[in-house]
Amino acid sequence: MPDKQLIEWLHDYDAAVAQAQRTNKPVLIDFTAAPM
């Protein structure tokens, strides 16, 4: 089970767009240089 406190980030923009179109949600994209 994923931790409900975490965000399950995608790393593929096209996959995110497809999911957004299915769910009618906007995409939030974080362009980052912070340690992961």
Binding site: P26, V27, F31
Partner: protein, 150 residues
């Protein structure tokens, strides 16, 4: 910002989240960054698919400021989709919950516009101009709303 439980919950509920690291996802970062004109990190974009930018946040923000900006992006998305009543509710919630953020005066302005778009009643704009005489009167949004004063 994201480890904060309220931020994480808000992101999970309202968005499809994508994180592109400048080194770890170099090719995708460059491809999508060029598509959306990204010049700096952190840059957070709220986008209606496939590539209509609704809101841009550049640079680090404390939690309340960040949440207010995310909510502003969500309200702008609803507004752009013609969901004016929902957008107005989101804008007004920003003013109520995050009154001391930079998002608040902008939200106060757009709440009036959203009400006007939903109803066609110009009273919404005059009421908004009046609100700016009480709150955020030194903001640039007060200047923009001043043209609506009766």
């Amino acid at each position: 910002m994201y480890p904060h439980p309220e931020v994480a919950a808000f992101v999970r509920t309202h968005f499809v989240p994508v994180r592109l690291h400048i080194k770890d996802h170099k090719e995708e970062y460059q491809r999508v960054g060029a598509l959306l004109n990204v010049q700096w990190t952190p840059t957070i974009l709220i986008v209606d698919p496939p590539a209509s930018e609704r809101h841009r946040i550049e640079g680090f923000l404390p939690v309340d400021d960040f949440l207010s900006q995310l909510k502003l992006g969500l309200a702008k998305t609803g507004f752009a989709r013609g969901q004016y009543a929902d957008a107005e509710r989101e804008y007004r919630e920003i003013v109520e919950r995050y009154p001391n953020t930079e998002a608040a005066p902008e939200a106060q302005y757009w709440a009036g516009v959203a009400r006007y778009k939903a109803t066609g009643d110009a009273t919404a704009l005059r009421d908004t101009a009046k609100r700016f005489t009480d709150r955020y009167k030194d903001s640039s949004w007060a200047k923009k709303a001043s043209v609506w004063a009766a």
